[in-house]
């Protein structure tokens, strides 16, 4: 269902089944989803950074980014944090439960444009979820990119997502730098905020470095400033932003940030297109 596809009903919801639910951390679960009965689109494909509208009948819809794909099973992953009515209803469905989905929607991370560049991925908390498919694709096409670095932090060590993936990414050539806001027993790593991790990167080739950032909005702002302070131009910084997306296709007006309709023009936006609006309180 790409934007260039012939006329489709963007409101049509397809039934999908939860085939696996893996707890990640307190209140955060990764769901593996698949079309019910193979009756949907077997060729389901999305681009890293895009989102789906997940629907629990009676509870409503929510926009959730894809956090990975499942090629063998023709399914995909969504990492969901318990937040409101819909996420709680989804958590009660459990494995085998059926819910609805429409998508994928939105602008992805510009991975093709980043070919030949160094890539710095910066994530805070659950903000790693929309970046994970990008990490996977960059790893799979390792030779097309320069230096790769992941700067990731969470409030606590147990809040760090996808802990089994770090070694895989390091093997694929990623420099993985972690930090937490508050340590817990057993944590021997860094304590501090994510933007400080830029200090771990030496000898940046700023002219050909691309930065992808996702996390709480305040973290995005400070991480972007840290990148700018090191000389990376704003046109090479991309951020994934969150507002209440309801229609997913730019016709309900909910997810506006200044001139941006984030479901349509985002969620991934070039930083110099968003910076001016992010700095206005209550916009």
């Amino acid at each position: 269902m790409t934007p260039s596809a012939p006329f489709v009903d963007p409101w049509q919801i397809h039934p999908v089944q939860i085939v696996e639910a893996v707890p990640e951390s307190e209140g955060v679960t990764t769901y593996r989803l698949r079309y019910c009965g193979g009756g949907g689109k077997a060729d389901y494909a999305f681009q890293p950074g895009q989102f789906n509208m997940l629907y629990v009948p009676g509870a409503g819809e929510m926009a959730i980014s894809m956090s990975g794909e499942d090629r063998q099973a023709e399914g995909w992953l969504h990492t969901v944090r318990l937040a409101g009515v819909v996420t709680h209803a989804m958590s009660r469905l459990g494995v085998g439960g059926v819910l609805g989905m429409r998508g994928p929607f939105g602008k992805p991370w510009p991975l093709d444009n980043a070919q030949g560049c160094d890539v710095i991925v910066v994530a805070g908390g659950i903000g790693l979820a929309p970046l994970r498919p990008a990490l996977q694709q960059l790893s799979a096409q390792r030779s097309a990119y320069g230096r790769l670095a992941l700067l990731y932090g969470a409030r606590t060590p147990s809040g760090l997502l996808y802990r089994n993936d770090y070694a895989t990414w390091q093997d694929a050539g990623w420099q993985v730098e972690l930090t937490v806001d508050r340590h817990e027993p057993g944590w021997t790593g860094r304590v501090g905020v994510v933007p400080q991790l830029f200090d771990r990167l030496r000898g940046l080739n700023t002219g050909r470095t691309v930065v992808f950032i996702c996390g709480p909005e305040v973290m995005i702002l400070f991480a972007a400033r840290a990148a700018l302070a090191r000389g990376i131009p704003p046109q090479q910084i991309w951020v994934s932003l969150e507002r209440h997306m309801q229609c997913g296709v730019g016709m309900c007006g909910h997810c506006q940030l200044g001139p941006l309709l984030l479901c349509r023009d985002g969620p991934v936006v070039r930083y110099d297109h968003a910076e001016r609006w992010l700095q206005v309180e209550g916009l």
């Binding site: 049509q12 409101g84 507002r243 309801q246 730019g250 506006q256 209550g282």
Partner: protein
């Protein structure tokens, strides 16, 4: 501007007008047009010419709308009421989908509702422009809304040129009227005994061929042009659009927003009567067992606090931020999003605001403040600026008793060097659109 009559113009006598209504009904159209109701001129089904608000007009001002008897029997001798055609193409409540639980699994189907085949009669020039604005939102998109598209594609549009204007009208500022120039199948100009008719589409031509028309006489064409010119001459309200996008977007923290917020009730009336406002929310409508569910789209408004809810709270948690969202979206960021202003100059939001907030006045306020700021920045201009303010007249001629003409407070009123409003330069809608460099 001289309104030249074209050779294409025909004449339809009022005595024959019922033929048009019957012809449309015979073609399966549901004819919708102006009629008296709820103490206003509203849109509703038209079966007979007797349903038209013959001999009535509307008296409008900021926060004011009254029906008044005319001293003639004109059929279309009024401007626009609280309703617009959007309620037919983008209904206040639309069923999008039904979900039904069968044997433990969910069956989800598009709502199968009959698509009405409308003939809109009495569409004004500003409303033609509003249809075009909503076409851009719902139809000219990567994901068109099927509910809008189906209704829109089979709707027939019969426009009626305004022959008078209300004090709230400012279509001339928005370059949308008062003359109907495009977007109609047929367009009428009312004379005492009949209508001068223009054809705007092949469908309109087919329809016209079946009407008892006569070629319009030179005198009839002249009278029609005079009637249209009268509407244009009566327009007094003005919204200066040059540089408007940048003016508003470079003053997002201006103290004038607080001043408007103190008057605004955040009641959402302006968004309900606006013919282009398109914000909506989807509701879950469930039976008691939770086994049959309908998803229904309802009109929403950026003035409703919950509209900006994101988990954890509201983004626009005060009236200041909500009014700012509405005005900047309507007049500025709409250009970025849809390549046009969201305002067509119909004046509905002015008439139907319970406290009479007038967006043209608010914009004039920002403009005056920006002019002042530029004036203040000139070397040695400080004392002069103070005396201008003290004399009670700002550069735009507004009373200085309005707070926005006071010295801008702190950071807020000072345009940043790269954001300074380019006063006097031509308006280039969306010229700084983030998307313009990216394409879609």
């Amino acid at each position: 501007m001289v309104d030249q009559a074209t050779a294409d113009e025909q004449y339809l006598a009022k005595a024959d007008f019922q033929v048009l209504l019957d012809l449309l009904a015979g073609e399966g159209y549901e004819v919708i047009g102006p009629t008296l109701g709820e103490g206003a001129i509203v849109y509703g089904p038209l079966r007979s010419v007797a349903d038209l608000p013959r001999g009535w007009t509307d008296e409008q001002e900021a926060g004011h709308y009254r029906l008044v008897r005319r001293n003639d029997e004109a059929w279309f001798g009024f401007v626009v009421g609280p309703q617009s055609w959007k309620q037919y193409l983008f209904p206040p409540r639309t069923r999008l989908l039904t979900a039904k639980c069968e044997h433990g699994t969910w069956k989800m189907q598009p709502a199968e509702e009959p698509v009405p085949k409308y003939a809109f009669l009495g569409v004004r020039a500003c409303e033609l422009a509003a249809l075009d604005v909503q076409d851009r939102v719902f139809m000219h998109s990567a994901f068109p809304d099927p509910h809008y598209v189906q209704r829109r594609q089979q709707a027939l549009v019969i426009a009626v040129n305004c022959t008078q204007a209300a004090p709230t009208c400012f279509c001339t500022s928005m370059a949308t009227g008062p003359r109907c120039r495009q977007g109609f199948d047929l367009a009428l100009t009312e004379l005492a005994e009949g209508f001068v008719l223009e054809i705007g589409s092949p469908r309109g031509r087919e329809l016209a061929a079946r009407l008892p028309l006569a070629p319009a006489s030179e005198q009839q064409c002249r009278d029609a042009a005079d009637a249209r010119a009268q509407a244009e001459q009566q327009i007094t309200r003005h919204l200066a659009t040059a540089g408007l996008r940048e003016l508003l977007l470079s003053n997002l923290n201006h103290p004038h927003w607080d001043e408007v917020a103190a008057r605004c009730l955040s009641c959402a009336n302006c968004t309900m009567v606006c013919p282009t406002c398109f914000c909506s929310s989807v509701e879950e409508v469930s039976d008691l067992l939770g086994e049959q569910i309908a998803r229904e789209r309802v009109w929403d408004s950026c003035f409703n606090p919950q509209f900006s809810y994101v988990h954890g709270g509201l983004v626009r948690h005060n009236i200041r931020s909500r009014y700012r969202q509405w005005l900047t979206h309507k007049l500025a960021t709409w250009h970025d999003q849809f390549g046009t202003s969201g305002c067509v100059g119909c004046g509905r939001c002015i008439s139907w605001c319970p406290v009479g907030i007038d967006l043209t006045q608010e914009v004039a306020g920002f403009r005056a403040a920006a002019d002042r700021a530029l004036f203040d920045r000139r070397p040695g201009a400080g004392e002069h600026a103070a005396s201008v303010s003290g004399q009670g007249r700002g550069p735009s001629g507004l009373s200085a008793s309005r707070p926005f003409l006071q010295q801008p407070r702190g950071e807020a009123g000072r345009p940043l060097p790269d954001e300074a409003p380019e006063l006097g330069q031509s308006d280039a809608p969306g010229s700084e659109s983030p998307r313009s460099t990216e394409g879609r």
